[in-house]
Amino acid sequence: MALKIVKGSIDRMFDKNLQDLVRGIRNHKEDEAKYISTCIDEIKQELKQDNIAVKANAVCKLTYLQMLGYDVSWAAFNIVEVMSSSKFTYKRIGYLAASQCFHESTDVIMLTTNQIRKDLSSPNQYDTGVALTGLSCFVTPDLARDLANDIMTLMSHTKPYIRKKAVLIMYKVFLKYPESLRPAFPRLKEKLEDPDPGVQSAAVNVICELARRNPKNYLSLAPLFFKLMTSSTNNWVLIKIIKLFGALTPLEPRLGKKLIEPLTNLIHSTSAMSLLYECVNTVIAVLISLSSGMPNHSASIQLCVQKLRILIEDSDQNLKYLGLLAMSKILKTHPKSVQSHKDLILQCLDDKDESIRLRALDLLYGMVSKKNLMEIVKKLMLHVDKAEGTTYRDELLTKIIDICSQSNYQYITNFEWYISILVELTRLEGTRHGHLIASQMLDVAIRVKAIRAFAVAQMATLLDNAHLLTGNTQRNGICEVLYAAAWICGEFSEHLEDPLSTLEAMLRPKVATLPGHIQAVYVQNAAKLFATVLRGQEGAPADRTVAQETSQLLIDRLPLFVQSANLEVQERASCILQLVKYIQKLQQKDVEVAEEVTALFAGELNPVAPKAQKKVPVPEGLDLDAWINEPPSESESEDEGRKPKGKAVFAKEESKHTKPRYTEVDEKELAKRREVRKAEQANNPFYIKASPSSQKVYQDGVGVEHIPVVQIDLSVPLKVPGMPMSDQYVKLEEERRQKDKADKKKKDKKKRREKGEKGRRRKGDSGPESEEDITPAHMVDITTEEMPENALPSDDDEKDPNDPHKALDIDLDKPLADSEKKLPVRTHRPDEVLRSPVDDGEGVEVVPELKKKSGKEKKDKKKDKDRKKSKEEKKKKKHKHEEGENLMGAGSEVPVQSEDSNEVAAPPPATTTNEASDLDFWLSNAPVPSNPQEAAKVSEAPSASTPEAVSGMAVVPPDSEPEEAKDTEPEDTSSKHKKKKQKKEKEEKEKKKKKKHHHHHHHSDGAGDESVQNGNVEEEEPLPPMSNYALLAENSYIKMMCDIQGNLQDGSQVVVSVIFENKCDSFIKAMEFNVLDSLNSKLQRPEGAGPHDGLTVPFQLPPGISNEARFVFSVQSIVMPQKLKGTLTFIVKTDDSSTHEKLDFKLHFTCTSYLITTPCYSDAYAKLLESGDLKGSSLKLEGVSQPFHHLLARICFHHHFSVVERIGSCASMYSRSIQGHHVCLLVKTADQTVSIDAKCDEPGLLGNVLDEIKLTFSQC
């Protein structure tokens, strides 16, 4: 019995699988969370068991729970366990869970590297497949780097199933580890012609995705893709290829021409809508790139538009949507072709589907003309009335305004009509776009002078009926319009028929419920109106009472605003109130004041473009960052809120001069001022604070909304009395046009262009009229002064710097160097940011010199490539070097250079032109070459043979060793120094060291020193291994090696590269590197860190792994060597515990580390010595038994010198410090005695350097 129970419970434990879990969750609808938490507890128990089947089952359930949104990251390690099960059934569960739960920051991922590698190479294709699939979900930069080679191998797997997966995942690998792109690309290219269509399609996918971001690098593949396009039958693949062409054509218009025909054929023949759609899209893209000068392509456009029309007319909503979407692309370049389908698009406005309506709206934007604008807008206005849902209505509203205002109101012929449209739009309930309407009103009133009288009349009516707009609290978005209305009425009050009544309307008590910034405008413009009224009355002395009554009105009403909670309103009101009181006094004395009052508001306001201020170029010699006066000390608290920033003040000052007055009432600005004022008041003991009752109101403008407002029943139709309906204008406009035409016909020039043609009816012919015939009724004022005189052209928006694809912008046409054939497997992650200055420095140094020597003119582009290339190489070499591989002696290589260097041409440009011309050939040929590959091969052949021809050392016949020949060719700079005679095995090693000794090769070349060449290569034995990395400190956990280099870019910086190596079996994390700064040398810490804070090392170390970090120090004086004490703290994490450990070290900055290998020509060197600025010193080394070239190599390597000239057993050497001191050495050797005569412009530095050289040789 007991046994049965036990057995049962075990069964149950086994039995609760995914199905049970799902069922259980469904049965516990009420207490789902509780049920799941008990399930999770069970799963935790199951995971503790040793049985892998139980574990896998548990992980499977976790995957389900994860999908439901539960965090299962705690089980990450168990997932890894299940992944490593040998049974596929379990393994796939593990991988599935990993692909769902893991992400880049999951730290157990680094434990999976070996397991994944094992699975990738498993004989079972499904093991490999599942690993690839999983990897594509959670690949990290580390995994990508470590596994890139394995995946690359799988790209040539025998099973297409594996190949296609491997090809696809390479895309992810490229993104995470961009260095892999170049080495992997040839193989990827091969896969485009894989016999298996699945693999082919995968390769197409990857290249498409790559090419979309950096199309220019893939242009040379066009012939291949063209072939694929004409041969493939898989629509999914075709779509991708056609998409790719869409990305390529903007770069190569000839490609576009070539594409048109096959694409149109496809459009005609295909039955698949998705393919048709893609073709149409690409044809459009092609035609856009071909620009308009192609009359014979109008047929293609016509075809596209026709097909799209079929899509739009289709009953399938999806097709309709896509048709409209594609149509909008055509619209940009060929608006005329689309305009003929206006009927169809207007029809779509009535569609049930909002997304279709929105697309149709987009199209309308480009379809309007002077002729049809009114009609289209009329239709849209109807939709506005019908539209349910505010979002769509708001969208309509913005579209109407967009359509009308586009290109400076180009299509508006009658602005009275437009103003009425705007006024009609104000009746929209609950719109958010009151501000938009207001700004349009202002803009039109300011720019179109002829319309002002009409606009003012309309605005006056609006103001008079303001209660209709503000009455309903829901409608407060629209009250922004009143801002514009008040301003227009005030500013252009001379056009008002009855300014007094408008003034009265603006001073109604209800106005106080409006938002503050609107009230402020009301008050200000009331004053303007007051001035107008006074001026109107003054002529007639009989009406003097009217003027006085007006003053009285203001005096009566303004106090309401003086009490306003809004400071701006308050301020303006009290100011104007005082003014009016004063005027009243004068009026009582019968003084004529009108002129003076009017003068307050004299002057025209001109429109200013929104970006105008930004475009004002800073005058020469003006430093905006410089202090005008001594900067105030920080302790001065008075400056609070005033922002004592020179720049800000300047900008603000400027804007006041250039911006129109109304923009000054900026809400933010007001808020800021308010804050400042409040703060001041609060601190001022003499300020009488507002009484408690008004305190409530004394809030922001927002508070106004909370004041209960009596609701007005709006069942009455919202027809504002006295306002003309926009519809009238459609009719009027029609008449006007006809009249204009008739007038023209009669050639009656006197009668042309009358404005007030309202009501006149004449019959003219109703035939079609051209755009040009329609003359606008009003002229828009687009003044050029809107922009400052020498405004700079608009700034382009830059690409997103975080785009991972940026790193993939790599030239792929350049053949691979043999160092690149294999993916570099690295143990350290390079710290790009810190290293680059050093690299740049050297890279730059090399190129110009070469250029000079070869005497060939290279294109700038090429130079860049060289630079990039040499950097790349350097990087690789560095790695190998760090790994402590052998370095060969410098001398063994020195001799050969000068020989070829004179004949060195520039091979790589030849290659690129070859490739380019190949593409040219393909593109220019009208018929498609039967086999584009052949053409490609042709181009490869010459490029492969160039190096021999060029190097002047045609030792290796191209056939026998084409590999090598090809390899050397792209190594632009270094290939010139390559010694062909040397055996292949040596090459690898040499390259590593080549960089280091680069410079003195050139010197020997440059100096034309024959004696070096005569030296026998074989005689010179290789040097023992050398490394600049010296042991810094070591304990049982960790070992630190360091190298110290000067930073060429910055004369006061030294870069310390430290390799951390984990020597123990535990995980080392949270490493912190700290150094006790001296007065002279300081560790550069990130901004905000204290002077004693340590720097976190940006990685963790699993057992046995080493990695490198760089630290930058700033130094002041470089004359003396420095020693800095430092500490590394870290946490050692074992299975069950973690301990804090530390390791002390002493950084030794030798004077050598301030020297930078710098090449120098012998003539420059001679001049330097002759100049007499240098002070000498000398050194004798006894008992040096090593060969002279070793000796030189050592000085070069350890002390950063370069050989200027070497004659027999005598050599001159040069180096330069980071602060520009020259150091010259003359090294002579005779009978184990080495004498070094040295000169330097800094004797202290020289002495120390010599001591260090001495030390180097005493150690060996």
């Binding site: 999908m67 499904y126 296609k164 995705e209 979309r212 999914w236 999806n318 896509l322 589907d353």
Partner: protein, 145 residues
Amino acid sequence: MIKFLLMVNKQGQTRLSKYYEKVDIGKRPALEADVVKGCLSRKKEQCSFVEYKDFKLVYRQYAALFIVVGISDTENELSIYELVHNFVEVLDKYFGHVSELDIMFNLDKVHIILDEMIQNGHIVETNRNRILAPLLALDKMAEAH
């Protein structure tokens, strides 16, 4: 490129989710809820493409189950629309009249099918037999045990 694929029922419960672009696990439920809301609110006569933030959703409804695919704007909407149907056909072939319950109870298998069809956010395979081959092999293996 495909950003994610979701299977949700009318009640808005996620039945399958697969992300091809990193989305924080914490943010997934919110995104799913938002996406589903966008699709569920649409009527039958509305088109199957929804513009959502900076990408597009392509969805298809099968009985009570929605399949929603998030794609970048460079992807061909129609081809994804057809892919969804292809996916359902494969499921149908494997399960025989596939239902929501099949998907819930065999989540891992559905994932295998999906992984065969889409990898990395790209379509790898559309041939029904080839898609099902690994799964059938797996089933055989399980039977043998």
